[in-house]
Amino acid sequence: MPSTNHEPIKAVPLRHPIRWAVALFLVAISAAFVVDASHRGAYDWKAFAQYIFDPRVVKAAGVTLALTALSMFFAIILGVSFAVMRRSPNPVFRAVSWLFIWAFRGTPVYVQLVFWGLLSTIYHSFFIGIPDIHFHNFYLGFHQTISQQFSLFWIAVIGLSLNEAAYMAEIVRAGLLSVDSGQEEAATAIGMSWWTTMRYVVIPQAMRIIIPPTGNEIVSMLKTTSLVTAVPLVTDLYARTRDISTETYNPIPLLLVASAWYLFFTTVLMIIQYFVEKRFARGHSALIAMAS
């Protein structure tokens, strides 16, 4: 017989003394660290306050942000192209894409940046046009030396975006693969073209898989920009604060200044990522809500 008694259970909850002890210990050492750091002379918080909004530092933060944004922009475009090429029926496209990813993912980004910095040593000049045809000493075409054409900033952007493109290609490929083939079929059956199917059916669903790792890649790129000193580009946040500290003989507060700016940017990026992920979880979050 089913019971009609609905008394809620009254029981003494299980105690967790170790959990409490560990938590108290962690709070105590964190507090001790903070209190100590606020007094410790080496951190020199006065210098930190003096340099955090120094016009040179703010400008350098702008350069870091620009490097990140431009490199990710080109990396995403290239990454999507290489991901689509990997799915192409044309074997040459597949092979080129594979080779690109193999080379650029298989070597350190620092080494790649040094290579790009030496571009003008390897290829002194480039020429677009028809070779060996001259009219009165004028080239028919477009002839420039590498250093004339590309500033160090753009060399850094090229280096960073090509390296990142290899990673983005794999992320995008995983996203496209995650969409059930029935989706493409259903879209095709109602007469959608390949591009319309991609645009309105496949990509929006792939985005749910693509966005979280892409967010990580942007955060990672923001920090990787500190390696552009290999090019050597010295106008970014890290290089600039380091240069200032060589004048002041006081590196620690400037490291803190750089870290504070990096943290500020990554925090903003995390907030943006949260909202973007929510947007592309439509239909899927409903599924999770149902299951729980």
């Binding site: 259903a186 109602i190 007469g191 319309t196 669903q205 899927h284 409903a286 599924l287």
Partner: protein, 253 residues
């Protein structure tokens, strides 16, 4: 009047697997044809050939007098451009076993998207039309639900509405009730019956012999990539002449 669908000696192979071995049949305007047969007999493949989701290796298929997948000129066949093939497909509705609704769109958006993105109808007109279609399949209350919030039967009815939105002249159903819980099969079959009564030409791959008996004008039994037996459903179901038909029916009836 010429038949809606004419298939002549259709062959289809996947690599060395010869799935269709010469299918010839005709479907009249307004006819409901049920395709039955054991799994692997080529029923679904044949259905997918009709809207050119699969390319056939030889033979020809016409829908409403138009050759599918090719243009014929001076005795030569020219493959259709992607856009032309897409236009051809939009006139042929298809309903899948696993519904294949777009999960990131509401029921209403699922029905609207084809009208807006393929036919170029403006969104508000498309929504008015879509709401009528969803009411027709009994889902007027579920317009803003995502597929994950709908039962299998409701999802399949949205899928039917999505196909109808393209105003097809022919509807293909690929085992539309096979993925459903038994108690949900009836609601989908009811929608299909209503559609049949409205005069839609339909080809239905199904294991629902009750539906075939009650609604279909013709029944085709396929096995091993050929048509083994075809005729009136009542005759074939009660008096199959072929041995393979008899043995199949004895297992499913």
């Amino acid at each position: 009047m010429t038949p809606m669908v004419i298939a002549e000696e259709v062959h289809k192979s996947f690599g060395s697997n010869h799935v269709l071995r010469g299918i010839s049949l005709e479907v009249a305007h307004g006819e409901v044809m049920c395709l039955v047969g054991p799994s692997g007999s080529g029923k679904s493949t044949f259905l997918r050939c009709i809207n050119h989701l699969e390319k056939i290796n030889s033979g020809r298929i016409t829908v409403d007098g138009t050759l599918i997948g090719y243009r014929e000129h001076a005795g030569k066949l020219y493959e259709l451009k992607a856009r032309e093939a897409a236009t051809q497909r939009s006139g042929i509705g298809m309903v899948f076993q696993k519904f294949n609704l777009f999960p990131h769109m509401t029921a209403l958006e699922n029905v609207t998207v084809g009208m807006v993105r393929v036919q170029g109808i403006n969104t508000s007109d498309a929504q008015v039309e879509s709401k009528k279609l969803l009411a027709r399949v009994g889902l007027a209350e579920k317009l803003y639900h995502y597929p994950a919030h709908l039962s299998g039967g409701q999802q399949q009815r949205v899928a039917i509405a999505r196909s109808l939105a393209m105003k097809p002249q022919l509807m293909l159903f690929d085992e539309p009730t096979s993925a459903l819980d038994p108690e949900l099969v009836g609601e989908v079959l009811d929608v299909m019956k209503e559609l049949a009564a409205s005069g839609m030409t339909m080809i239905v791959v199904t294991h629902e012999m009750g539906f075939a008996r009650e609604v279909a004008d013709s029944l085709v039994f396929m096995d091993g990539g050929v048509v083994v037996e075809a005729g009136k459903p009542v005759e074939i179901l009660s008096n199959p002449t072929q041995e393979r038909t008899k043995s199949f029916l004895s297992k499913v009836l």
